[in-house]
């Protein structure tokens, strides 16, 4: 008797579950007549009646974009990582609130404090689209969410364009996008009929960590006029050292690395068979902030890599990051 009761209970539970799963739909309706409409990286349409005024931005690279657009006054919450190391120093020069650490940090790439986000009462939250559950929770409070995921440098363009619309800075967005694209054209123009050099990109975690064809690294190397040796499709790939020998790149480009220098890679006994190592064609990107290629600052590493690859062939001058950043952060007039 009591066992059959349990069976019914279980059956009931299953039914209830199916119903619950069925209801799990999207509750936020879309306003068709809204003044501002963009589609974010999830493919979700975002509609605002007026430009966002209170923005919680939980992505450091998008935060850079907002500063480039000159809309930092709208930012009311930033990712916690900004208050650390070089990033903090660099932002301190741009914003006194960050220097004094007075801007709230309701989350980072991994974690979001729903409570802090909600209590800031933002009218826009910018967040990685991988934080699906956090997005769901924030949207439940009727707070618009712009979710970001970067797979190419074109995604960076799209992000800046969208941010321009959302933050009422379309002109400025057009300006810096135009500048960047022009600069890229000069590099493309520089490319001679000479066969492409090949490059291996090495992330900070170690020599085995690289990025494949479907990644921002791929775009970066392509714009720089070199060929990514990694033929895998992954955004992030861990490869075997033997594989690297098969590819035998002309040069190795290291992401900014606190532990290793090009000299360490050149002396690494495991890598002596590589052409790039024998010819000492190993380079390190000088700064995570200046070279961040999830922002328009990718222009600088593109120029650098191109310079490293072809400096002896054409007349390209060594790129100057300060000049670039001044343009991107619009600091030519008001240099503080």
């Amino acid at each position: 008797m009591r066992y059959s009761g349990f069976t019914y209970g279980l059956f009931f539970l299953l039914c209830a579950e199916i119903v619950l799963i069925g209801c799990d739909g999207n509750t936020s309706e879309q306003k068709q007549s809204a003044a501002i409409q963009v589609t974010d990286f999830r493919g979700k349409k975002l509609a605002l009646d007026k430009p966002a005024e209170k923005v919680v931005c939980l992505i450091e690279s998008a935060l850079s974009g907002i500063y480039m657009l000159g809309k930092q006054d709208k930012v009311i919450g930033i990712p916690g990582d900004v208050y650390r190391g070089e990033t903090w120093q660099r932002y301190s020069e741009l914003d006194v609130r960050i220097r004094e650490k007075s801007l709230p940090t309701p989350g980072n790439w991994d974690f979001v404090s729903l409570e802090q986000v909600v209590s800031l009462e933002p009218d826009l939250v910018i967040i990685w689209s991988s934080q699906a559950q956090a997005i769901e929770n924030i949207e439940r409070f009727d707070i618009p969410v712009y979710a970001v995921m970067m797979h190419s440098l074109e995604d960076v363009f799209k992000e800046i364009e969208d941010l321009g619309k959302l933050l009422d800075a379309e002109n400025r967005a057009g300006e810096i996008l135009g500048f960047t694209k022009d600069q890229l054209k000069t590099i493309a123009h520089d490319q001679t009929a000479e066969s492409f050099k090949t490059a291996y990109f090495m992330w900070a975690q170690g020599i085995n960590e690289t990025s494949g064809q479907n990644s921002t690294v791929q775009g970066l190397l392509r714009y720089a006029g070199v060929k990514n040796v990694c033929d895998l499709h992954d955004e992030h790939a861990t490869i075997n050292i033997e594989k690297l020998h098969d590819w035998d790149p002309d040069m190795i480009v290291m992401w900014y690395n606190e532990k290793l220098d090009p000299a360490d890679v050149i002396e690494n006994p495991l890598l002596q068979g590589l052409k790039a190592v024998r010819e000492k064609q190993v380079y390190e990107l000088p700064s995570a902030f200046d070279c961040d290629f999830w922002t328009l600052k990718f222009l600088y590493p593109v120029q650098l890599i191109h310079f490293w690859a072809y400096a002896n062939q054409d007349t390209t001058a060594k790129p100057d990051p300060e000049k670039l950043l001044r343009v991107l952060y619009n600091q030519s007039q008001s240099d503080e």
Binding site: L13, E115, E121, A134, F141
Partner: protein, 328 residues
């Protein structure tokens, strides 16, 4: 008198714990006055305070309470039916099985999350039991060793699901393996409440029979019970409640081991009484731990970190203290 006071305390404990926890949070602009207004002068309370307390803090606190309570209850029940004071949902691999099942359910969409968590929770416990069983006997230590293997298998499978799945769907692997509540919501609450209630009611019904089962199979059979059949039902109920909470919280290690022992030290071993005490103390204590986890640092520390750090020395102490030989 002393015992009566302790019982009184444990029934009362959840009320202040839950109320104080409502006051604790990362947002500074919510205070006692907001809670006061919310409950006594709802018209004067601000929309923001209402939203933060009712839609963010309350579901989280309730979810944590239920999770803690259910882990403790299923821990004590598993200890009784396996006659092994060193097991809990984590040690037996139930948690990692359920976490894998839940992740699989989320990643594939087609399989209901709770059902998948339940099925793999059962599979994991069955696997541990099957591995530990030799000559129709399951020794205390071999069951723990088998649990380690099961845990390894299912955390590996969980990692595979994590790697293969669309990053849009699944939260970070560390959230599954160390437990986390920062995505708590009423949706999650409503997702677990049905299996948890069903599981608990069944266990509550069997609460005294657990004493009989805890004496041993032959003893239970000679006094007219069918131990195998009864254990299966109890195991299903404990797994139903346990896997439901794991599906939303991730793996909270060793928690189901600590609480039943504390309850036993204070109130004795009679499961007729301790089942409810486990629920109340297990719930309250995890809410307290979670308060630390959400306020200690600017970011959130996974709650499983705390329970493991408390639980591991406790486990060793139990192993040394009890006269459990390695052979039996």
């Amino acid at each position: 008198m002393n015992r009566k006071f302790a019982i009184f305390m444990i029934y009362l404990l959840p009320i202040p714990v839950l109320l104080v926890s409502l006051l604790i949070g990362s947002s500074e602009n919510i205070g006692i006055s907001d809670i006061f207004y919310l409950f006594f002068e709802p018209r004067d309370s601000s929309e923001l305070a209402r939203s933060i307390i009712m839609d963010i803090r309350l579901p989280r606190i309730l979810l944590v309470f239920i999770t803690g309570g259910m882990l403790a209850v299923s821990g004590s029940v598993l200890q009784a039916i396996f006659r092994n004071p060193l097991v809990d949902p984590y040690v037996l691999g139930l948690s990692s099985g359920a976490a894998f099942g839940a992740a699989l359910g989320i990643a594939t969409v087609v399989i209901p999350v709770q059902l998948s968590a339940f099925v793999f929770g059962i599979v994991a416990v069955g696997l541990s039991w099957f591995m530990a069983r030799k000559n129709k006997e399951v020794s205390i230590v071999s069951l723990i060793l088998a649990g380690i293997i099961t845990n390894g298998i299912f955390t590996s499978l969980l990692t595979i699901v994590q790697i293969m799945s669309d990053p849009f769907k699944l939260q970070g692997i560390v959230h599954w393996i160390m437990g986390n509540f920062h995505n708590a919501s009423w949706d999650q609450f409503s997702l677990i409440i049905i299996p948890v209630v069903i599981g608990f009611v069944i266990l509550y019904f069997f609460r005294w029979k657990l004493n009989v089962l805890a004496l041993g199979d032959e003893e239970a059979a000679s006094s007219g019970l069918n131990p195998t059949r009864m254990k299966i039902w109890i195991l299903l109920a404990a797994t139903l409640a346990g896997s439901a909470v794991v599906a939303v919280s991730g793996i909270i290690g060793l928690y189901g081991l600590i609480i039943p022992h504390i309850v036993r030290m204070i109130f004795g071993v009679d499961n007729r009484r301790t089942l409810v005490f486990n629920l109340l103390l297990g719930g309250s204590f995890l809410v307290i731990i979670d308060n630390f986890s959400r306020t200690m640092a600017g970011f959130e520390i996974p709650i499983g970190v705390f329970t493991m750090l408390i639980g591991a020395p406790f486990f060793i102490w139990l192993l040394k203290k009890s006269n459990i030989g390695w052979q039996q």
